[in-house]
């Protein structure tokens, strides 16, 4: 998890989301729908954007998991976080962590996506405030500013 090994005790059917939020006390991944329809819970598992609300923890032993907390911190934000701050890409911000993780997975496999590719990739994630234009700009900005190896992160 974000570069560290964690050992948690949880029923195997517990969705990753609750382990993140309750056992590991991480705030970024959010409960939105519980049925993989909104993307607020999105994290990256072995490089792939994943709905943590429907991913049982029992299937994740040995997997590499990245959350927004793994991209940087408030004192040392990563390039994707900096881009979202610079574009002021949030209103309520509840969906934003999920947006960032889906964008992070996209940038891992495609460091310089087109506008159409970003839109297509972000399709599973809902924003209710109408921040979409800023989210698109922030992902573009991150793509332009990041190095290839760790697109969303602080390097």
């Amino acid at each position: 998890m974000n570069g560290k090994l964690h050992r948690v005790e949880a029923d195997a059917d517990t969705p990753l989301l609750y382990v993140l939020r309750e056992d590991l006390q991480l705030n970024a991944a959010k409960f939105g729908c519980g049925v993989a329809q909104c993307g607020a819970c999105t994290v990256v598992v072995d490089g792939v954007a994943t709905f943590s609300c429907v991913t049982p923890i029992g299937r994740l032993a040995g997997k590499e998991i990245t959350t927004v907390e793994g991209l940087g911190s408030i004192d040392a934000p990563g390039s994707l976080q900096r881009a979202f701050i610079e574009e002021q890409a949030a209103q309520c911000g509840y969906c934003i962590a999920g947006m960032m993780m889906r964008a992070h997975a996209l940038l891992l496999k495609n460091p310089h996506p087109s506008d159409a590719e970003i839109r297509s990739e972000l399709e599973p994630n809902l924003c209710r405030c109408g921040t979409h234009m800023r989210i698109l700009r922030a992902v573009q900005r991150a793509a332009q500013s990041s190095s290839g190896a760790n697109p969303g992160g602080s390097k």
Partner: protein
């Protein structure tokens, strides 16, 4: 413009003289007056300030519902100072010079915290990053009612700005007294007062408890726009860095020591009665602490969150309900609503004009029930401790919520503290207050332990109060030159406000064994209105009648959704203006200008048309078209015009390009204004193209995002360009709801331009021509 005091300021510019001639009541006596202030800056020097102003009525402190406002008529104080006049209710400074500002308004994702810090920093001459801000909390902040109706800058922004200016003046006066000089010889900078001879006193040294515990004065020495350092400058929002780095930003993120997780088990439909509940199996489930049953209110409490969810599912399976078919046929909704008894209020009846009608036109428009559909379901935490209750809630009104919970639990309000903590964006009255009441009721069964309740997605969709379905019928006549000679408009709607206050407006109140009744709904009065918000066109209409058909009976649970009836009424008026323009063979923008005298209205329209290239647009047809719309929100707040281009193909309607212009008076955070206008436009597109609450005669059926689709990225426009007209020195007009109606009107008009077919039923479903 009825029912609003006409306040008037001497020494106005030409702009406002023409405003007054046209009946605008937006000016307030206490705001900065160009030309009337001789010389003033943070560093006050020389001749001092002269403010020439007087007011003839009480300061307007309107909430969404003035009837629910409470509070007395004080002197004419600016913004919410009228209901909370003591300066130390707004600004406090400790001996170390730390400045804390207090607001009764709440951050809902609209960026209000940042804007309030900007106005405070400017007037108090303190760097923004050194300010602290405390938002809505019944133990710490003044009662500013609800954070609603695009009122936060008008109410709280105006109050804090004036309070900060008056505190600065008190500090300067105190420094002058101690230094044996005149205040005008002193300057304030970064929390320190300096005299020309180099002596300095910090705010911390100057302040005392008694110094700021004084009532505000009606007028303030406000900093003139050319001296602003923070106001009208783009200011990065203070909450965004935490939100994008996994900070604890929301009530959903709070983890209190000993906290338990609760889930409610809701009835399957509105009128369902619990006939049997076998709790034995669930009580034995691992981690389950308690099952709470109070009438039809059922909840389960567990040590861990997922255990609470599993227990909730198990308990649902063990509950039997008797359901009744109390909902109307959705396919026949318009007829059902028109068939319900209505109270009819004529809100405009003008009998001018002598023009002869050459043609007459009429149309009927409908809107379905629309959900707030916050991405994060409602959540709250409540804790009883020594007979006192603390509730952490994303309510829009901590004081009204406290009142409701007080009644629900028969507990004195003084024993309850409601603290606002951000939730997912709310867009009006969603499940926030209900979740707070759920948490409070459950906590009353488990004193000592903090109880966190989060609703499930399907519970939010089934039980939130929806934006009401509405119908509007309009008739108008044109003379041979294409001018409107007569206008007759009727709008049918439920109430747009069933907020607590009363505990009967809480789900927990209705479901508990006491089965509290929701009070009889009342229409929100003009000029802001509810279902009739923006039902009176701003256009010059010599003969016009507007009737609000208020329907008390509510087949579905309804309440305030962003812009209330404004969205629907502007959609109808702006659609019909285009229909009339087409009939008159006049360009839609020109047609609007021909019927508008308000210079600020004309400015946003011409600026939008110019930026969009309206005159050079391609003629509509072959699946593409352009549309235009305009409104002044509530006819007394921000002006907004929208122009856009759509394509209509087999896949549906897609907006390509949007240009919008807003005049929100004095701008505080220009990027914040753009963010709100842009967000309002996209949300309005989502309502207009996709959204309709589904139900059969028993149950709400649109319980997930598949059955209640909203806009996804594939439907997001190629570009949205928002211009902000700068009006330095004008009063704050707010902007949170200004673009909702114009965006919908422009979209409908563009679809008609593209297809040649006028769509009048929301959401718009178009086929290629």
């Amino acid at each position: 413009m009825t029912g609003r005091s006409d306040e008037w300021v001497q020494g106005r510019s030409d702009d406002s003289a023409s405003e007054r001639a046209h009946g605008s009541a937006s000016e307030r006596a206490h705001d900065w007056v160009p030309g009337a202030i001789i010389s003033r800056r943070c560093a006050l020097q020389g001749t001092g300030a002269l403010i020439l102003s007087f007011a003839t009525g009480p300061a307007a402190v309107a909430q969404e519902s003035p009837a629910q406002r409470g509070g007395g008529r004080g002197p004419s104080l600016p913004g919410s100072l009228a209901r909370a006049p003591y300066l130390d209710g707004w600004i406090r400074i400790d001996a170390q010079g730390q400045v804390t500002a207090f607001t009764g308004k709440a951050e809902l994702g609209q960026g209000i915290k940042t804007a309030l810090l900007q106005v405070t920093a400017d007037e108090l001459c303190v760097p923004l990053e050194r300010l602290q801000l405390v938002t809505a909390d019944t133990a710490r902040t003044v009662n500013e009612g609800y954070t609603a109706g695009s009122h936060s800058m008008q109410d709280s922004g105006t109050a804090l700005r004036n309070a900060a200016a008056q505190v600065r003046e008190l500090l300067l006066a105190e420094a002058a007294r101690r230094l044996g000089t005149e205040p005008q010889r002193l300057s304030a900078e970064a929390g320190v007062v300096s005299s020309p001879d180099g002596r300095k006193l910090s705010y911390g040294e100057l302040v005392s408890d008694s110094l700021l515990h004084v009532q505000a004065q009606p007028t303030s020495k406000l900093t003139p726009p050319d001296r602003h350092r923070f106001i009208d400058k783009p200011q990065p929002r203070v909450d965004i860095p935490g939100k994008v780095t996994g900070g604890q930003a929301y009530v959903q993120d709070m983890r209190l020591a000993g906290m338990l997780h609760a889930r409610v088990v809701r009835p399957p439909s509105y009128a369902a009665q619990l006939t049997r509940l076998d709790t034995s199996e669930v009580e034995r489930m691992s981690g389950v602490v308690k099952i709470v049953r109070d009438g039809n209110f059922v909840a389960v409490v567990a040590e861990r969150e997922f255990a609470a969810i599993k227990a909730m599912r198990a308990l649902q399976a063990q509950a039997s309900w008797h359901e009744s078919a109390v909902l109307p046929e959705r396919t026949d909704l318009t007829r059902t609503l028109l068939g319900l008894p209505s109270q009819d209020y004529t809100i405009l009846d003008s009998q001018g004009g002598t023009g002869t009608s050459a043609s007459s036109h009429e149309a009927t428009y409908t809107r379905p029930y629309v959900a707030h559909a916050s991405v994060g379901p409602s959540c709250a935490i409540a804790q009883f401790h020594d007979g006192n209750l603390t509730v952490w809630t994303h309510t829009q009104g901590v004081y009204p919520d406290r009142q409701a919970i007080s009644e629900l639990l028969s507990l004195a309000p003084e024993k309850i503290r409601c603290i606002h903590v951000e939730g997912s964006g709310c867009y009006g009255h969603n499940g926030a207050d209900d979740a707070a009441a759920d948490a409070a009721l459950i906590a009353s069964h488990l004193p000592g332990r903090p109880i966190r309740v989060q609703w499930m997605r399907e519970q939010e969709f089934a039980w939130e109060p929806f934006g009401p379905a509405m119908i509007a019928k309009v008739r108008a006549s044109l003379d041979s030159s294409g001018r409107i000679t007569a206008w007759d408009y009727g709008v049918w709607s439920n109430t747009h406000a069933t907020r607590p206050g009363p505990a009967g407006d809480l789900l927990a109140g209705q479901l508990c064994a006491r089965a509290l009744q929701s009070p009889a709904p009342r229409p929100l009065p003009q000029p802001e209105g509810g279902g009739d918000r923006n039902a009176i066109p701003l256009y010059v209409l010599p003969r016009a009648r507007v009737v609000h058909h208020f329907i008390p009976s509510m087949p579905l649970r309804v309440s305030a959704l962003r812009s209330l009836g404004g969205y629907m009424n502007v959609f109808c008026i702006e659609s019909f203006m285009d229909e009339l323009a087409l009939a008159a063979r006049i360009d839609p923008v020109e047609f609007r200008l021909q019927h508008l005298e308000d210079s600020r209205a004309r400015d946003v329209i011409t600026a939008t048309a110019h930026r969009f290239g309206w005159a050079q647009r391609r003629p509509g047809g072959h699946g593409t078209g352009c549309g235009f719309a305009f409104a002044r929100y509530k006819n007394l707040a921000a002006y907004c015009a929208v122009a856009l281009e759509v394509e209509v193909a087999s896949g549906g309607i897609r907006v390509r390009r949007v240009v919008a212009t807003v005049d929100t008076g004095q701008v505080v955070n220009p990027d914040g204004v753009r963010n709100q206008i842009e967000g309002g436009i996209l949300q309005s597109f989502s309502w207009t193209l996709f959204e309709s609450v589904g139900f059969d005669t028993r149950r709400i059926l649109s319980l997930d995002w598949a059955r209640y689709p909203i806009m996804r990225f594939s439907a997001v426009p190629d570009s949205v360009d928002v211009q902000v007209i700068d009006r330095p020195g004008e009063v704050f007009l707010g902007c949170g709801e200004a673009s909702q109606g114009p965006a919908a009107g422009a979209l409908g008009n563009a679809v008609a331009d593209a297809t040649g077919k006028r769509l009048r039923d929301l959401p718009l479903k178009a086929q290629p021509a």
